[in-house]
Symmetry: C2
Subunit: 407 residues, 2 copies
């Protein structure tokens, strides 16, 4: 069971989480629970660090940030003990989450769950501080934003859990964001591949990395609400899914930006220079479009999108290449992206054509397009995103009996 | 170097501590610094625990409380790195503070300072989270209130430090509390024995336990101000002190309470029953006075003092003994204590007589008396304490050139 920050934001909610864990135990399960930091704790700690340092040292940042989840776990363990049950809180290190030494974005190398297994065998409930581990050099590390989902999936794999339940303030995975599409449907089942595409294209309900880990280790994820008992969405491998709908969901993002480089010499290695510079600055590039020069010896134009928050860093990384690698750099800040995802798309041609015609019918200009076997993404102006999501959701008939109001 | 909670209360102060540590390094020393939790952090964490639990589980309390010092250390390490120096923060566990399993009041069993020594050898400054350790069962433990002083002394012993500097908002050890006696003198040197008596009788500048540890391991302590560079007070073994004054200081406490049991049968084992019950309830009894019965087979009266905050617990522990062990229990809540401490007292009779005559001359009634070779303590009504401290400080001529205003 994994509970996010809003689920443990205050004393009342922590007690509710404690009750929920105890209920699961009383239903006959052994429970390992992963908790995030309470509410805005992580943001407050980051603000403290920025007060004392212009560029906080990553190792020390991890020592600082890892305290938030420990506080949540200790408080919740107290609440469970008060309910007459036995619970023990463990740090990432005590729980055996071994990572590499990449502070603030460490990767899990191994999970040594001996101490968890011992505690479970002694009939204790185990609460593990999410988002953190211990490095090969015995330093505290953190896994990056949203790392608690990854902790939960990794522990579920290590202890051979039946299911990894991810509790949050969202009742499951929806066919679109219910804040934009009131008739969005809660999906009972989603395949790993679909979930990966959805997480990568804007669905915030699960971290991409946690879904990848779950797919690689065959961990069944159940996303559900921490505020009620209704079943949520189960993410499992494609072979287990009952149905194979043409389109599963419409996802979106309104926080994209586009950079366009013009006057790029049509020579081998130039594009590599550009994207190496961006990678070294830790900017993740999403879509790339290159227009071939119209004549031999001509110059090309390259456009690509990055998360809007990375735009300044991206420009800084590219400026040293000016004149040698490109002539002009222009930026569009207010870009968004709308995607449709569905495993059934593979075997049904014509989906792309329908997407373009729906958006065209709405008078929305498509700036860039990218596709995978189970996804079509279109970059559009961010102001048009809500309208595009509603139009696509309607056109592909995604409303249904599990609409958001019911969930 | 050990810095208390007020010294790291905000970003500016943390930067000042960082600067101070770097200055010491630049003066040619290797530095290990122990930090407390920032300002009111510990109180806030305790309040959180009380919100979720009526009786917070001690193991979880330690997991919770240990986060405060880690935050201070991580922030200070960031600030030092920003100054162009290398610093590393360590938890109590990483620093090798091995304790027993008595959660919330653990005792240090061993200090395995290998990691600290390695870091020092690599020319790093080492910041250690005070007040905490790791138990023989790999759980996080805390050393009890003020435990950071003990951490500092224990590390000083383990690394063979020249000196253990304790920085706080007090400029050193004074001949009396300067808030009560404006002419109180800052003492350049105090012996361990005197410091132990002073800490036990109300001087808050150093934890009793830290002084005991320092005496047992021969660690030289230097108490000084975190806000200026003036020398403070050095605590060292008696053989090293330059002078042996008759009286070193007047200490006091205004938070005592007295319990009196009447009708106590004059039989062997009765007093033991009483004080065993109090010990089991974790009440520390200070002074005890027993009046012998006037005739054989008569009944005695026993009075004793406890910290005022323990009064309710003490009464609760004694009530089950009523009628069998005593007839009546009465309590005086507003008691105080004034003590004079001085290593020279040993060889000078007449000090006690002078104390009694000074207090008598002030019209202050002495309720109980206890003495050691280097201390005389008198329990008096707490309202008279400030007047008694000033009278004794004056009568023994303790004003002098290092008066508080100058320090």
């Amino acid at each position: 069971m994994k509970f996010g920050g809003t689920s443990v934001a205050d004393a009342e909610r922590i007690k509710r989480v404690a009750r929920r864990i105890v209920d699961k135990r009383e239903a006959g399960y052994q429970v390992v629970a992963v908790l995030s930091a309470r509410g805005k704790t992580t943001d407050e700690l980051i603000a403290m660090a920025e007060e004392v340092s212009d560029a906080p040292h990553p190792r020390e940042m991890d020592m600082l940030l890892s305290t938030g989840e420990r506080i949540s776990c200790a408080l919740c363990a107290m609440a469970i003990n008060d309910l007459g049950h036995r619970a023990i809180s463990l740090t990432g290190s005590q729980a055996g989450i071994m990572t590499d030494t990449s502070h603030t974005k460490a990767r899990i190398l191994d999970v040594r769950a001996d101490r968890i297994k011992t505690a479970l065998a002694e009939d204790q409930m185990v609460l593990v501080a999410g988002f953190q581990g211990v490095s090969t050099t015995s330093d505290v590390t953190t896994l990056g934003r949203g790392g608690s989902d990854t902790t939960a999936v990794a522990l579920a794999a290590a202890v051979g859990a039946e299911e990894c339940e991810i509790y949050s303030d969202v009742a499951g995975v929806f066919s679109a964001d219910p804040r934009i599409v009131p008739g969005a449907r809660k999906l009972p089942v989603v395949s790993f591949d679909e979930m990966l595409e959805m997480a990568a294209s804007g669905a915030a309900v699960l971290q991409l990395r946690a879904v990848e880990y779950a797919r690689n280790h065959g961990v069944r994820i159940h996303c559900r609400s921490s505020f009620d008992d209704s079943p949520g969405t189960v993410v499992l491998s494609a072979g287990e899914t009952m149905e194979n709908p043409l389109i599963t969901a419409v996802t979106h993002s309104t926080a994209e930006a586009r950079l366009t480089l013009t006057g790029v010499p049509d020579e081998p290695g130039v594009a590599a220079d550009i994207f190496r510079a961006l990678a070294e600055a830790n900017v993740s590039v999403d879509m790339i479009v290159q227009n071939e020069p119209s004549s031999a010896g001509g110059r090309a134009e390259i456009s690509f999108t990055v998360p809007r928050e990375d735009l300044r860093v991206a420009r800084g990384a590219l400026e040293p290449l000016a004149s040698r690698v490109f002539k002009d750099l222009s930026m569009q800040e207010q870009m968004g992206k709308v995607s449709i995802v569905g495993a059934g798309m593979r075997s049904h041609p014509g989906v792309a054509a329908k997407v373009f015609s729906v958006l065209g019918g709405e008078g929305i200009n498509i700036e860039m397009i990218s596709t995978s076997p189970i996804k079509i993404s279109c970059v559009i102006a961010s102001e048009h995103v809500p309208r595009a999501v509603r139009a696509l959701h309607g056109a592909f008939g995604l409303e249904g009996p599990n609409a958001a109001e019911a969930g």
